[in-house]
């Protein structure tokens, strides 16, 4: 589980201070899946860095399983908009990278087996010997997802992972993501600016206000199943979509007033 408890954060430059987070609190239960949406530039990526322990909050507490996050820890998986695959490794070696960092008792064969299992799940098993540059953007992002899950992290953080993909590829990856969720047991936090993505993937959607970001609104999505895209077009989803759109509009409007 992930918990933010009254978190403040600011960046200092030589001339000024920029407050990005202001009294942000939210809670993602164990094996839960929450999405954070908000106006662009509101500090969403800062949230991911805080969870990963890459930066420390200026004030307030960030907790993972009830423990304060002080430094990076190995039970986290991360994926970004940029898949950042290493060009000098093939896909299989790229996926196995975290196992070279995180302590484990796996043999080489077991590592490969686990990587292949994931690659199979996302439909990349035939490409394990290819270089990243030989793959399409969507395929690279799939490989990046496999890499973020190979060490079986308790927490998965996705920072606009599908942002650079075209609409059809993105929808394919949503389905892949829910497949991955069924097979693994991780708590997931996704940062996105796509409302439909948030509704489709997450159990709860948290809307952040404009900068400095604080929780403005949150809503449980309460869907029955996650295995097809049709559920995005039910009256229930449409209603959610409209509510969230209104909230985003509100966040942007308030931000403009403040500036």
């Amino acid at each position: 589980m992930i918990e933010f408890d009254g978190v403040y954060h600011k960046f200092s430059t030589k001339t000024s201070e920029l407050q990005v987070l202001k009294n942000l609190s939210f809670y993602v239960p164990k094996s839960g899946f929450s999405a954070i949406i908000g106006p662009s530039g509101c500090g969403k990526s800062t949230v991911t860095k805080l969870v990963a322990g890459l930066i420390k909050p200026y004030n307030g507490r960030v907790l993972l399983n009830g423990e304060m996050v002080q430094t990076p820890r190995s039970n986290i998986g991360m994926a970004f908009q940029n898949p950042v695959l290493l060009e000098w490794r093939n896909i299989l070696q790229n996926v196995m990278l975290p196992l070279e960092i995180v302590k484990n008792n796996l043999t080489d064969l077991q590592k490969k087996e686990r990587a292949r299992e994931l690659l199979n799940l996302v439909g990349l098993i035939e490409y394990e010997n290819n270089r990243p540059s030989e793959l399409s953007g969507g395929m690279r992002q799939r490989a990046s997802l496999c890499r973020s899950l190979i060490h079986q992290p308790e927490v998965l953080i996705l920072d606009e992972p599908f942002g650079a993909l075209d609409a059809f590829t993105r929808e394919d990856l949503w389905l892949t993501m829910s497949r991955l969720r069924e097979t693994g047991s991780f708590t997931c936090l996704i940062i996105t600016h796509d409302i439909r993505e948030a509704i489709f993937l997450a159990d709860e959607v948290i809307v952040l206000s404009g900068r400095p970001a604080t929780n403005q609104f949150s809503i449980k999505t309460e869907k029955e199943n996650n295995d097809n895209l049709d559920q995005l077009y039910t009256p229930h989803s449409t209603k959610l979509l409209n509510i969230l759109r209104e909230q985003i509009k509100l966040a942007r409007k308030n931000e403009m007033v403040e500036r």
């Binding site: 860095k49 990963a52 190995s74 950042v84 000098w88 960092i101 995180v102």
Partner: protein, 251 residues
């Protein structure tokens, strides 16, 4: 077939023109050499060519190895620390701006008689700069996400350097090494020519100069060209072996 034939014919035409020019002007050997003089010159000094050629080669390679170690180390600390970079950069640029031919007599005077040491030192001094700069730029322009994927797992700075930063910088490094190998070769020859009682192809060239032995001088030039090409392709071979993936990337 055409790939070999065209350069070969061009070379033949060049050599024939050269031969004709010397023959037409009736230049004697103390004024200018013709291509047909080179064969005998090589044969006459064949033992010196081999032993001095070897001297020049190993000095260049040792100097280059030194500049690889030092250049990579310097580039590494400059790439990782902004303060060190700000402190060292002006110094490095200033040092690089000095024409190295002026360093040669200074070194020759300081370490008088230590010919091998001098030569290796100048080859090193002249060639570490591009390596240091390329490595430092490669490291400081590493996208933060690359660092974050490993840092988020608790990887140490060294692990990040070894697994990501270093391999990612290899293409730039080899680009710089191609420049550095040529520079080191120049450095070696500078010292061999200037330093008295020297060995190496540069010294052979110098003795040709003293005796107005143009066939010998031109023969040395040809030998140097061959050695230079050899060194360059050694680097190309290493590049293909260690950074071949970058080659495929640009295609």
């Amino acid at each position: 077939m055409r790939r070999f034939l065209v350069p070969l014919i061009a070379m033949l035409i060049f050599v024939m023109l050269w031969e004709w020019l010397v023959w037409f002007n009736e230049w004697p050997n103390y004024k200018m050499a013709s291509p047909s003089d080179l064969g005998p010159a090589f044969w006459k000094y064949r033992i010196l060519f081999f032993s001095f050629g070897w001297d020049t080669l190993w000095r260049t390679v040792v100097g280059l190895l030194l500049s690889i170690f030092f250049g990579v180390f310097l580039g590494m600390i400059m790439g990782f620390s902004k303060i060190i970079q700000e402190g060292l950069y002006p110094l490095l640029i200033g040092f690089n701006a000095i024409p190295k031919a002026t360093i040669v007599p200074i070194l020759a005077l300081i370490f008088v008689g230590q010919h091998d040491f001098n030569t290796v030192l100048i080859a090193f001094l002249i060639s570490f700069f591009p390596i240091a700069v390329s490595v430092s730029i490669g490291l400081s322009t590493l996208e933060p996400e690359y660092r974050d994927i490993l840092r988020a797992l608790g990887a140490s700075k060294f692990t990040i350097f070894w697994k990501i930063a270093l391999p990612k910088t290899l293409p730039e490094f080899f680009g710089a090494l191609k420049v550095a190998v040529t520079l080191a070769f120049i450095g070696t020859n500078l010292m061999e020519i200037v330093s008295p009682h020297g060995r190496g192809l540069g010294a052979l060239f110098d003795s040709g100069k003293t005796n107005s032995d143009y066939p010998l001088m031109f023969a040395v030039l040809i030998a140097l060209a061959i050695l230079g090409i050899l060194l360059y392709y050694m680097v190309v071979f290493l590049e293909r072996t260690f950074a071949g993936w970058a080659d495929q990337l640009s295609r």
